[in-house]
């Protein structure tokens, strides 16, 4: 298996903590060298997943937890947001997960309106499983430096 660092954060399933997870995301992504735009994309995408988990996961129980896992690879960041509250094994969860299909009947996520749509638009890869609570697995790749050493000019877009 490809080596990676793993960071896990567990927070109460309350909207109060969406901002805390967002700041953590920003810290991890910044450490990895993501550019400003990508960090902002990651912040929105992970907040959306957190919001879904917080809004729909614990309608009956007030003491639920949301687990957020960051898989830090050399070329990408994988983020998992799970609303079952338990710890999880990254490899095991990935084996259980399927690609996100528009037709998938995950009622709770649909209700988020633009949430899942934004996750899909802002991340490079999104997978969702709902067998044991809902788990969203999102991937964003580090952009290679687009200006090579040999380039004699930098093009800018207005």
């Amino acid at each position: 298996m490809e080596p990676f660092d793993f960071i896990e954060i567990k927070v109460p399933a309350k909207s109060d903590y969406v901002g805390v997870v967002r700041l953590s995301t920003s810290g991890v992504a910044n450490r990895m060298g993501f550019n400003y735009e990508d960090i902002e994309d990651l912040k929105v995408a992970i907040s959306e997943a957190m919001t879904n988990a917080v809004t729909h996961a614990y309608d009956d129980a007030e003491d639920g937890e949301v687990t957020v896992g960051f898989g830090v690879y050399t070329d990408r960041l994988e983020v998992m947001v799970a609303d079952h509250g338990g710890s999880f094994d990254l490899g095991k969860v990935k084996a259980d997960i399927g690609p996100y299909e528009q037709s998938e009947p995950i009622e709770n996520l649909r209700e988020g309106g633009f949430g899942l749509f934004l996750i899909d638009a802002l991340m490079d890869k999104v997978e969702i499983t709902s067998d044991h609570g809902v788990i969203v697995l999102m991937t964003k790749f580090l952009q290679e430096n687009k200006v090579g050493l040999d380039d004699d000019q930098i093009s800018t877009t207005q």
Binding site: S15, T51, F117
Partner: protein
Amino acid sequence: MNLDINVVDKESVAVVALAGEIDAFTAPKLKEALLPLTKQAGNIVEVNLENVSYMDSTGLGVFVSALKSTKENNSELKLVQLQDRVLRLFEITGLTDIINIDSTVRGGS
């Protein structure tokens, strides 16, 4: 990680100046402040987002319900001075087509 809401409600024009972050935690507070303003017929509700540094779909949801309310109550909603990142979310979701957004003067710098 909070949102300050400052409402100046003059005759027929309400200016709502926001500062901070709009997310699942702060959106309910924003909705509570914004919706009553849209319920006054003929009112123009101008929301200034110059100092909103972060927003996600919870914010989009609030503005969509405010827009619906303006249609029902014959009032008007206008968003001004959005930062590029915030404006981008309205563009991605296609909401720039249905919400009156004045982005000629951008917020942030």
